[in-house]
């Protein structure tokens, strides 16, 4: 068997992504292209992703992004072996642009189509950098849209959600706290930067869902966000200056503490020795730093893909497609539907 080129298309939120992965006969994967067009700047003044703005941007960006990816990979579209596309979860209108395009490419090129799960794609992204995953591992997905703990028993076989947020996603909490502190959107990078000059122990913000009777692996960030707001407003009322760096650092400490504590506990409970952290918030320095410390203590191997692979992109979808092709999965039908609320357990929609 020869090399197979897998094309990945992503459009579930505000990034239009096209990735191309070369799948070797031995199952090895090489990333040939990873092109992303982001509409994040168009959403900034709204303080969050506006679905219609994102969908319009996807339509405009789809063909140019594809063109750049094909050029970057130095291939011809007709050389592609299979096409993978995010079918869910995500914004309905945004998903529809990518899936419609993917169907047209599949029909025009007469190649099989795989409608895949965006969340599984985030985990698959790591295999582009660190190679195959062990038979069982845990994945912590953290971004503006997701906060999940997953038990991964084969990327093409079985992924089980063992915990998720009961309210806001971790990245959403960052965005809201950033607004509170008059920092730009998206909130992750500016809070991370500011937090480096502050003291994470300065203010004891609450750790959501960490009581003895609380759900062991679920997260809650809404209370934390409110408590930061209350603290800031109390200072303002008292006419005190707000120690922005300490607030940012203490908030970030609370997020990183809960996420890593729960992830490591899950690793121990499920008897796995590898933890993957992916999603846009994985790039957060305190989260990865604390995770590295605690994983080392617990004898767990930590895998965090580079930031470019952590955020939404087509490469992760191509990688997941490659895992499915390598496993001999059956292609999806061309009347495939998008599923905005797709559960992570459904790796592929037929």
């Amino acid at each position: 068997m020869t090399d197979r080129l897998i094309l990945g298309i992503e459009s579930s939120c505000d990034e239009t992504g096209v990735g191309i992965v070369r799948l070797g006969p031995d199952g090895s994967m090489e990333l040939l292209a990873d092109e992303v067009a982001s509409s994040v700047e168009e959403h900034a003044r709204f303080g969050g992703v506006v679905p219609e703005v994102a969908s319009r941007a996807h339509l405009e960006a789809m063909v140019p992004t594809m063109r750049r990816a094909v050029e970057q990979a130095g291939i011809q579209l007709r050389d592609v072996h299979s096409i993978a596309v995010t079918a869910g979860p995500g914004l309905a209108g945004a998903l529809l642009v990518g899936v419609s395009a993917a169907k047209a490419y599949a029909a025009a090129l007469d190649k099989p189509l795989y409608g895949v799960n965006h969340l599984a794609g985030h985990v698959a992204a790591d295999t582009l950098q660190h190679g195959p995953l062990p038979k069982r591992c845990l994945a912590l997905l953290v971004s503006g849209g997701h906060s999940q703990l997953l038990l991964v028993e084969g990327l093409a076989e079985r992924i089980t959600e063992i915990g998720s947020t009961v309210d806001d996603a971790a990245g959403e909490a960052y965005d809201k706290v950033a607004r509170l502190l008059d920092l730009p959107y998206p909130g992750g990078p500016p809070i991370d930067k500011l937090a480096k000059q502050g003291n994470g122990c300065a203010i004891a913000f609450p750790r959501g869902l960490t009581g003895p009777r609380d759900s062991k692996y679920d997260f809650s960030f809404s209370g934390l966000k409110t408590s930061v707001a209350r603290w800031v407003e109390k200072q303002e009322r008292a006419g005190e200056e707000i120690p922005l760096a300490d607030v940012a650092a203490s908030f970030q400490e609370a997020v990183a503490d809960v996420l890593t504590a729960k992830a490591i506990r899950a690793c121990k409970d499920f008897g796995v020795d590898t933890l993957v952290i992916s999603g846009g918030v994985a790039a957060n320095s305190r989260l990865s730093g604390l995770a590295a410390e605690r994983c080392a203590e617990a004898g767990i191997e930590l895998r965090v893909p580079k930031p470019r692979l952590c955020t939404d992109n087509g490469a992760m979808i191509a990688a997941l497609g490659a895992h499915l092709v390598a496993a001999g999965a059956k292609p999806s039908s061309l009347d495939l539907s998008t599923t905005p609320g797709l559960p992570v357990g459904t790796i592929q929609i037929h």
Partner: protein
Amino acid sequence: MLVLALDTATPAVTAGVVELTPDSLPRLLAERVTVNSKAHGELLTPHLQAALAEAGHTLADLDAIVCGSGPGPFTGLRVGLVTAAALGQALNRPVYPVPTPDAIALDAATGRPLLVATDARRKEVYWAAYDAAGRRTDGPHVDRPADLVGKLPAVSDAAGEGAEIYADVLNLPVVQARYPSPVSLVAVAAEELLAGARPAALTPLYLRRPDAVEPVGRKRVTKA
């Protein structure tokens, strides 16, 4: 020449294969149309494949693609445009956008001034007006039917689903051309197609801005 016609600007998911020659009217070889405003994404590609198969052709046989550019409900409208754009890129064929009401006007062609109105949801219509020769004289615009009555140039008939839904407000005889047909979509672009003209940009006619509000200040969680 062999042309694929697509339109998703109305509840009709439309795909047709049309033969176009310089000296005769466009001829329909096969079409697949399903009226379902929620199924554009699922059905468009299977429809165009089925129409091509029935016509005895494959995508590789196409010379060009024509796609309705709206106006129409955004989510469905984008399905047609992105499908056409991707097909055009992968097959290396030109894609010609066509305003959807122009095709409906051609289908209706009463020889009298005409209003074409399609359903814009939110109790509004997308509309355009045409003279007796079928030339567009106004629009496309989006308005509430009652407001449109005041702005409308003199027309004798109305076509399109919007004209049917709001027939009692518009008070015009309704002619039967509810959705754009593949033949009319191709006919609207026939001159450019036959001349091999450089296609216009594949830009959707949204006519409305996205719903989005900029946040003003921040909400307090404690009482001031």
